[in-house]
């Protein structure tokens, strides 16, 4: 049966058999029963409860072998219940002197398991003495197990186990001197290398060794290990002795021993990274990286730089990775230039699996240690040239940011960009950077040969046929900017550019289309062009997004605020466009402008819009990129959302806006003002869609949407990363609803399958549409249900957000202190652990906050944090691509100022950490009764086709709409 299971089949049928075998009286049967049970079932399985009693009988029974079996099983799969009922018995066994070592070593590990499940079973005060006794044990088997137990105990609370420290040292001494070690336990002449390793590991959990005697003898042992290890012929012996040696190195580093020993270590490591044996080389590199973090031995390590760079060319990817890490770690101002150049050179030959990491690291180093900025620009442009596919957008955004902020750099960068454009085949990212830089600064080059606006234009235009739709809008912006900078205007160029604009006016991509139309209108307007396309204001100085992210292509908040800012700029432009169109008499919805208190009568609207624009620009220059701009954003959103593009679904947008402004804009009004638009909705939703959505985020069933004709209810079941939703479509009328259509626009992280929706819903009937959801990776994007039906002659269309949000894939988990702290410590620093101070939070009492957390499936762990003002929560996140991930959250509040808190989120996955952090922030900042939607619809008007476009979302960065908004 095990065999079947191993092959990957389900063997539910046999579980009962296995459990019943446990209670069999014969040894072989019992053994099979125990082993099968422990490998097939997990701790939460129901059958295990049945076995608890038998197991207990075996443990307290007289038969040693039975005791062993039972202990092993509990040790492997014992859960909380076992911990509660069996712990005292196990402890008794462990310390009783009458038992054979056989039983006691099992008992030790069994206790370890139980302790992990429930730390209360081990009473700290009593145990430190007993632990010390245990360490006096002569039998090495028991000692090995006890040492494992000690490691766990000490890692949890080293204070209480001080008394064990000298014993550890003594054990180590005994082993190292090879005294009193039975033949059975020596492995290739080395006394139990595993126990040595374990002992040193345990020692590393104590902060320092204070007692001078112990310290001296410990150092003696270490010295002996460091000096006494030679390379020998026998592979196994060699490995075993080096295992001990590396552990000794780690211990020396930990103890931060005196200099002599440290330099000895570095010398050893230097020798290791040059040996032929790949395992040793690998570990040498890894330990060197570790050493960098602990102490200041940079100078010594730098001597090995050449050797490390050779390792970068090793045939083995594991070794290359380590070498890269090490190089990254040892880089500082003095050697940055060499290292980055080396990395760049290597980049062209590196294999694909590493290029992305490599380019990111090179970019970070270049930025961190750049001796001058032009060098930085050079490096990045080279980087894009060599490995364009692997350079994430953030890297080139950052360059643009630098260039914009440094005036001296602008001509240089533009010239460089021009040079790259002359190459026959260049990467698309390069086209983007070059086009952007040239668009902004080409006029600075105008005097140089080959840099007249026309020539630049044609150089850029050559690339147009080769690029994808995301780049075309950037190119269009560039054309508009070139046109603007050309003074006096060049009619030929102008004609050319206009031809291109008009060509793209009918482009299938909404973004391109809108841009083309806007630019065309703008450029024909003349003077106003200058204002709008004036140079980008300087970016607010901010810390590098790249460094924060290190390995994940994610956006930090600063970047987000930039997007917000850019979105605003885009909007101001769009405003003018609207105005432009209206004065041109194009059939656009002028009336909508009145919603932002701009007089809708045509005469003076021109000026007022311009005023608005300059105001907005004024704010822009000084604006603090943080929340205050949200209001402005909201105001600007108003007209845009409704204006949209003709033919866009109208109802959804006013609704989305209503969440933001708190004033629902009746869709009927819109319809009244714009009779031209045929598919405008004539039905008005009952109740606030946003509120309904938020309610559904917290519970699993309820009404998602309701209007006079139809009610859409939803019922959901969530299991790990899978979800099953049922939509209940109920017709409230006495006539059938026709042409019912439901489309799901899923974000990339969700896999959603909707079963067929019937075309008609009979009168007073309710149809059910099941919906399968699978979560692929963490993200806060929301899936949108595009629902439409025909009622009489009018078409109704709504876009509803589906409550398949991040927290649905969470499952509460209780974490005990001894699970929490090692986990918390092991996830050190970004990107796995993020910390942020959040201000402007709605004041909440701790109890309220705990309730909110519980409603989001986060378990609040009481009493973990000594400070009563802090809150610790934990949860497990399920998704398809990563295994169930434990997430830990800590909220520190300030009792004097409830509006500010510090959030720390940690998990084993950087994306998850980031998303969860943002999610919690959203919840804490925005939960008041009229919740701010997590998806402000800013991007919707520009691109209604995008499934979910939200400017605050990291995903939006890759969204062409926002990207462009930024570049305008």
């Amino acid at each position: 049966m095990l065999y079947i299971f191993m092959l990957g089949y389900d063997v539910d049928f046999g579980h009962m058999e296995a459990v019943s075998l446990i209670s069999a009286p014969k040894y072989p049967e019992k053994q099979v029963g125990y082993i099968v049970t422990s490998s097939l079932l997990n701790e939460n399985h129901d059958f295990l409860r049945l076995a608890i009693n038998t197991v207990r009988n075996d443990i307290i029974g007289r038969n040693e072998t039975f005791q062993c079996l039972a202990l092993t099983m509990v040790g492997n799969i014992g859960g909380r219940e076992f911990a509660e009922s069996l712990a005292p018995d196990v402890q008794k066994l462990l310390i009783s002197s009458s038992c054979r070592p056989l039983v006691r070593k099992k008992a030790a590990l069994c206790l370890l398991r139980l302790f992990r499940k429930n730390p209360d079973v081990v009473n700290v005060d009593g145990w430190s003495d007993r632990m010390a006794q245990l360490l006096d044990e002569r039998d090495l088997g028991v000692l090995t197990s006890s040492m494992s137990l000690l490691v766990a105990l000490v890692s949890n609370n080293h204070e209480a186990y001080w008394s064990c420290l000298p014993k550890c040292v003594k054990t180590l001494e005994r082993l190292a001197r090879n005294q009193d070690i039975p033949q059975e336990y020596t492995y290739y002449g080395i006394p139990s290398p595993w126990l040595q390793v374990k002992t040193m590991r345990a020692l590393q959990y104590f902060p320092t060794v204070e007692d001078p005697n112990t310290r001296r003898s410990l150092f003696e042992v270490l010295q002996r290990i460091l000096m006494g290890t030679d390379v020998v012929k026998n592979v196994n012996k060699n490995n075993a002795s080096h295992a001990v040696l590396f552990e000794a190195l780690a211990l020396v580093m930990h103890l931060d021993a005196e200099n002599e020993m440290m330099s000895q270590c570095v010398a050893l490591l230097g020798k290791f990274i040059a040996v032929r044996e790949p395992n040793i080389r690998y570990l040498g590199l890894e330990n060197m990286t570790r050493m960098l973090m602990v102490t200041d031995v940079h100078d010594i390590i730098k001597r090995h730089q050449a050797q490390i760079i050779t390792s970068l060319k090793d045939p083995d990817i594991s070794i290359r990775r380590r070498a890269l890490d090490l190089l990254y770690g040892m880089c500082d101002v003095s050697n940055a230039k060499d290292i980055v150049e080396e990395l760049l050179q290597y980049l062209s030959t590196a294999d694909f699996a590493m290029r992305e990491e490599l380019s990111l690291k090179a970019a970070i180093l270049a930025e961190k240690f750049a001796p001058d900025l032009s060098w930085y620009v050079d490096v990045i442009l080279q980087l894009i040239d060599k490995a364009g596919d692997f350079v994430s957008d953030d890297i080139w955004f950052r360059v643009v940011q630098f260039v914009t902020n440094n005036e001296d750099l602008q001509p240089y960068a533009a010239a460089k960009a021009r040079e790259y454009l002359d190459k026959p085949a260049i990467h698309e990212t390069m086209v983007k950077v070059s086009a952007y830089l040239l668009g902004e600064y080409s006029h600075l080059l105008a005097r140089r040969p080959g840099c007249s606006p026309k020539e630049i234009f044609s150089a850029i235009h050559e690339k147009l046929p080769t690029v994808s739709t995301t780049t075309i809008p950037i190119l269009l912006s560039t054309y508009a900017k070139i046109l603007m900078h050309t003074q006096p205007p060049d009619p030929e160029l102008q004609k050319h550019v206009w031809a291109i604009f008009s060509k793209y006016e009918s482009c299938i991509d909404v973004e391109i289309q809108q841009r083309a139309i806007e630019y065309f209108a703008l450029s024909s307007k003349g003077a106003a062009l200058m204002d709008i396309l004036a140079e980008m204001p300087k970016f607010p100085e901010r810390q590098s997004a790249l460094i924060k992210k290190a390995e994940v292509a994610e956006v930090d908040t600063a970047e987000q605020s930039a997007i917000k800012l850019r979105a605003q700029q885009h909007m101001t432009n769009a405003l003018v466009v609207t105005d432009q169109h209206s004065s041109n008499g194009t059939p656009q919805s002028v009336g909508q402008l009145s919603l932002v208190k701009i007089p809708s009568t045509s005469g003076d609207e021109h000026t007022s819009a311009d005023q608005e624009l300059s105001q907005a620009n004024g704010t822009l220059a000084t604006v603090d990129p943080q929340p205050p701009s949200a209001d402005l954003l909201g105001d600007l959103l108003g007209p845009l959302a409704i204006e949209g593009l003709p033919g866009a679904a109208v109802l959804s947008e006013p609704n989305a806006v209503s969440g933001l402004e708190g004033v629902p804009i009746p869709a009927d009004d819109a319809a009244a003002i714009v009779p031209v638009e045929k598919d405008t909705n004539s039905v008005q939703p009952i109740g606030n869609i946003n509120e309904r959505f938020y309610a559904l985020c917290l519970k699993d069933s309820g009404v998602l949407y309701e209007d006079p004709n139809i009610q859409i209810g939803i019922k959901a079941e969530w299991r790990a990363q899978h979800g099953r939703l049922v939509l209940f479509l109920g017709n409230k009328n006495t006539f059938p609803l026709l042409s019912v259509q439901a489309l799901i626009l899923p974000p990339v992280h969700l896999k959603i399958e909707l079963s067929l929706v019937p075309e008609t819903i009979p009168p007073r009937a309710q149809v059910q549409c099941p919906l399968e959801v699978m979560n692929l990776h963490p993200s806060r994007d929301v899936a949108v249900l595009d629902f439409s039906y025909k009622c009489g002659t009018s078409m109704a269309n709504v876009k509803l957000r589906l409550p398949a949000v991040l927290n649905k894939f969470l499952q509460p988990i209780t974490v005990s202190a001894e699970e929490f702290f090692p986990q918390w410590r092991s996830l050190s620093g970004p990107p796995l652990k993020l910390q942020e101070v959040v201000r402007g939070v709605r004041p909440l009492s701790l109890i309220d906050m705990a309730n909110i957390f519980t409603s989001f499936q986060l378990t609040v762990c009481q009493g973990l944090d000594p400070n009563p003002n802090n809150l610790i929560a934990s949860t497990t996140f399920y998704s398809e691509t990563i295994r169930p991930m434990l997430c830990l959250i800590r909220i520190e509040t300030d009792p004097t100022d409830r509006t500010q808190l510090r959030i720390t989120v940690a998990s084993g996955d950087p994306t998850l950490t980031f998303e969860l952090m943002e999610f919690i922030k959203e919840q804490l900042v925005g939960i008041p009764t009229a919740p701010r939607p997590p998806a402000p619809p800013a991007a919707q008007p520009t691109n209604p086709a995008a499934p979910v476009a939200q400017p605050t979302n990291p995903a939006a960065l890759t969204d062409p709409g926002d990207l462009l908004a930024g570049l305008l």
């Binding site: 053994q31 590990l109 370890l112 059975e184 570990l283």
Partner: protein
């Protein structure tokens, strides 16, 4: 917490023995095994015996047609695990007399008993061969 899983896989990539010390569902196990096996089997002798995969480090060693793969977490001594694999093989050798793939296939339960004696809950319990083998001999006697 040390060892997360132990796999024995033959040259064709078929799993011959699998023991996990943390709970994964069947699908997860299958996927994990597939990925790891593909990664490890593709490597040659000159490369080192450690592969990083997801958040595990895989320490592997090849014996004729059989691969022994051990997944450990980040704070475990890799070389010690490497030698532990060898110890496991030596123990099996002592029991079966020059162990081969077929021995493990047809005496899967014994292989499991041995592992059970050596590793418990991801920690090494016993490294003395005679101690490891004593319960198995006991069982052979009784049956």
């Amino acid at each position: 917490m040390g060892i997360r899983f132990i796999l024995m896989v033959n040259k064709q990539g078929q799993t011959r023995l699998a023991q996990y010390y943390e709970w994964l569902t069947l699908e997860e196990r299958r996927a994990l095994e597939g990925e790891i096996v593909r990664k490890c089997l593709a490597r040659n002798d000159q490369q080192c015996s450690f592969v990083e995969h997801r958040n595990y480090k895989i320490v592997y060693r090849r014996y004729a047609s059989l691969f022994f793969l051990v997944g450990v977490d980040n704070d475990e001594n890799e070389l010690a695990i490497l030698e532990f694999i060898h110890l496991l093989v030596e123990t099996m050798d002592r029991h079966f007399g020059n162990v081969c793939e077929l021995d493990i296939m047809f005496h899967l339960e014994k292989a499991h008993f041995m592992l059970e004696e050596m590793v418990m809950n991801g920690c090494i319990v016993e490294t003395s061969k005679s101690n490891i083998l004593s319960p198995i001999q006991l069982m052979d006697k009784t049956s």
